[in-house]
Symmetry: C2
Subunit: 324 residues, 2 copies
Amino acid sequence: MNRLRIYVDFIAPPDILQMLREGTAGHELVFPEKPVSSVLAKAERDPAFATVDIAFGQPDPAAIADAARLRWIHISTSGITRYDAPAFRALVAKRRIVVSNSANVYSEACAVHTLSFMLAQARQLPLGLKTRTAGGTATWHALRRASKTIRGQTALILGYGTIGKRLAELLRPFEMQLRGYRRHPRGDEVVPIVPAGQLAAALSQADHVINILPDSAETRRFFDQSRFASFKRGAIFYNVGRGGTVHQDALLDSLRSGRLAAAWLDVTEPEPLPEDHPLRSEPNCFITPHTAGGDRDETKTLVLHFLNNLHRFVHDEPLLNRVM
Amino acid sequence: MNRLRIYVDFIAPPDILQMLREGTAGHELVFPEKPVSSVLAKAERDPAFATVDIAFGQPDPAAIADAARLRWIHISTSGITRYDAPAFRALVAKRRIVVSNSANVYSEACAVHTLSFMLAQARQLPLGLKTRTAGGTATWHALRRASKTIRGQTALILGYGTIGKRLAELLRPFEMQLRGYRRHPRGDEVVPIVPAGQLAAALSQADHVINILPDSAETRRFFDQSRFASFKRGAIFYNVGRGGTVHQDALLDSLRSGRLAAAWLDVTEPEPLPEDHPLRSEPNCFITPHTAGGDRDETKTLVLHFLNNLHRFVHDEPLLNRVM
């Protein structure tokens, strides 16, 4: 087996780094001179990058052209926006560079985060946790009447993939009517996939619209004024994908008009949303700071996922989460 | 069929009341002179009560002795604390009065409320929804690291019954290790039931301790200092049963010592908890105002449940949710 040079541009605590070193014994790890701050951060250009066989992290797409030896890029996130462009796709195809991502690492946390949003909304937790009302008062009756279950309701999952599949599994006991929407249906989805021509009709029937779309030229501001106009009145909108897929002014209008009963967002544009952004003060808009994929053990899982793929790469087996 | 006199002491909007009138056509509805304020309120003594065959609501247990014609009490709540006393049990047994409750009405909402607590805690929603931190900061990393999934964790459900069974169904996709504890195991539970002698050991292994115990002489302050001392360090405690089953000072100590990582309470003693009660300002204590059983359609479901049982009563069939 050849000794491979592996560029690693994500930060990890010492024990996880040790695990990575042990798992890659026999190969060489190359680190950027200036470490990055998070799995979501974009690394700066680094001359050492031109000498590596494998890149694990968030390498600069523009640097690929100079990296003559590069054969495999393993992206440390689920989102691949920076790489999901025709020119980049053409380059890696021509150079026969394989690209995989870390969808499996974040899907469990993202699916659970989405369900936590759905249930917090159904049980009116934001209001319930801050109220001080006594049983039997008008406020209490209103809160209790606003509390719901989600059994038998309808949900549409856009950007149906690894996360959507897991969410569908978590929702199974609720006996909901689930549908999915994705760019390239594969035919093996566990929920019915809505064709593009029937999307507006599907949106008009959904009590819950769950946006897990990646950010790409095609999905940019996918949820705009006309898209929200298709929604069922009183629907709830969730975004655990990317902020750029939503026209935030249109979202705000839809909340204010009552078209949407509530919006739960883990992603916005920009992040964090400025303190004086009107969505911040909208009573039925709830925002977490891009933590849906977060999991106590995520860095460890991320390294294990990479090592699993390294084993497959070395033995010429198909990679997990291959995206290009 | 005899014309039955049915005492109804709960409030309902006109359309639901109309449904009750139509469903009881041929019988006579008797209402208290002074209407009650909620399904949880205790009705005052009423002379008309002595003349009825059936009571639907929250009748005064002391009034039963004078109600010579009474044959069936259908309690409008899931909790039966006011009736769950040896003297009352002896009286209804002697008088052959059947007692049923409304567990089926509230079980779905209660189970969903409990799961909403579990997931809000796992995903750190209270903190996440109010933070304004940017990705990559120390605060953001801490929040992401504190975020978890619940897959494979251990949960113990105390007061395992209709709600616990539904919660176990909702938790199935999370592949958790579930156990139950109940006063009178029936042998048909879908989770293993812990014998009383092994309760401390089971508590010491549980990541999640879910209290749905009813309030009775046996369960009064069931969770006291010594019970909390059995908990696994960092466990999370949920109470969607009754406030009286918890020694609140012991709960506070357990939160402050770090024995408990968090407590999520839908019930307290008293309700609401005074604004200056120390649990109110404890950072990892989260309280909703007894809304776990609340469901937009609960009054309708409650009436349908009663009408279903009335049909069974008239035709001499076994009642649903019979408790005595």
